[in-house]
């Protein structure tokens, strides 16, 4: 994905060549739909939200100041939209208290399957308070890049780091036994 391609397409669209926007859609549809999916866990809704993000991007193309990379601007716009959409109509989530610890890990013959543990961690992220959940989603979506996550969220890096720390702390507290399982196996 080339930044110069984005810039060229934006300039063409701004000059009145509307079909040039398709280049932007084709380049960024995957990331935008996937980011939306991480927010709502519903494929159909993810596509609706991503479509709305592209429409807003189209309407606001003139507002992109070229001091930031186009993708940064696009992700910030999409993140902002997804967050407000999810605040308006929340995704079906589970309470943190519903992320049950196994009653006795020994009862499962040394531990739970990896798949179950992964699912439990993802559900626990889902059940986090919105500000921690959103930060964690963006952090992992951007391949553990705090700077990019902070730009997408429109927050200072320090705030993002603090929320990541706190979010992971909550996760650890909730999932201690499940995360401990492989350690017991390894020992």
């Amino acid at each position: 994905m080339s930044a110069t391609d984005d810039q060229a397409d934006v300039e063409r669209v701004l000059a009145g060549d509307i079909p040039a926007f398709e280049g932007i859609v084709r380049r960024w549809q995957g990331p935008l739909v996937n980011l939306a999916y991480r927010f709502c866990r519903d494929r159909g809704r993810a596509e609706e939200m991503a479509q709305e993000a592209f429409l807003r991007a189209y309407r606001g193309l003139g507002g992109w100041r070229k001091d930031a990379v186009f993708s940064t601007w696009l992700f910030a716009l999409a993140t902002n939209l997804y967050r407000s959409e999810l605040r308006r109509i929340p995704a079906r989530t589970v309470s943190l208290d519903d992320i049950a610890e196994p009653a006795d890990t020994r009862a499962t013959d040394g531990g739970l399957e990896d798949q179950d543990r992964d699912l439990a961690v993802r559900r626990a992220v889902w059940a986090l308070p919105a500000k921690y959940r959103e930060t964690l989603i963006l952090f992992y979506f951007h391949d553990l890049d705090v700077t990019t996550a902070a730009r997408s969220l429109g927050l200072p890096e320090g705030t993002v780091k603090a929320r990541l720390f706190r979010g992971r702390e909550i996760l650890r507290g909730k999932l201690t036994q499940r995360l401990a399982v492989p350690r017991l196996k390894e020992a």
């Binding site: 509307i18 079909p19 926007f21 398709e22 859609v25 084709r26 549809q29 995957g30 739909v33 996937n34 999916y37 991480r38 494929r43 993810a46 596509e47 991503a50 479509q51 592209f54 429409l55 189209y58 309407r59 605040r87 308006r88 109509i89 543990r117 992964d118 961690v121 993802r122 992220v125 964690l136 992992y140 979506f141 391949d143 553990l144 992971r168 996760l171 650890r172 999932l175 201690t176 995360l179 492989p182 350690r183």
Partner: protein, 132 residues
């Protein structure tokens, strides 16, 4: 202990970094471009008629200012009335009955009215934003 925390973090990182990717449906880009074309073809939104609305806005502003001035004057007048008796004889008919109890009573009623207003505004905003 630090090693255990590090291990947990690594485990969380590993699990959450390995999220499954989904592919947009085949017609997604076409559907987006249809929406974009519709958007481009739509007439531009009608701008707010500031020129027409200006006299009304000015009148509303003046009315609000007048109401504030009258309110301040009434409150100042109430403040000057030192006793309930004096108050009830000086403004027996023009003021509503709630003010006949004196300054304290009026203040309580005003505070209650403000509180009710605040609660109703907050409640309606909450309901409107779908968080109710």
């Amino acid at each position: 202990m630090r090693r255990l925390i590090r291990h947990d973090e690594d485990e969380i990182d590993r699990i959450l970094s390995g999220e499954d990717e989904i592919l947009p449906s085949s017609g997604f880009a076409v559907s987006v471009m249809d929406a974009v074309r519709r958007e481009a073809a739509a007439p531009p939104p009608i701008p707010f008629p500031w020129k027409r609305a200006l006299p009304g806005l000015v009148a509303a502003g003046l009315a609000l200012a007048l109401a504030l001035v009258v309110g301040v004057m009434v409150i100042a007048q109430l403040g000057r009335a030192s006793t309930t008796a004096l108050f009830s004889t000086s403004l027996p008919s023009v003021m509503p009955p709630i003010f006949h109890g004196g300054m304290e009573s009026a203040a309580i009623w005003t505070a209650m009215a403000l509180l009710v207003t605040l609660v109703s505004v907050k409640l309606s905003m909450r309901l409107a934003s779908g968080r109710g």
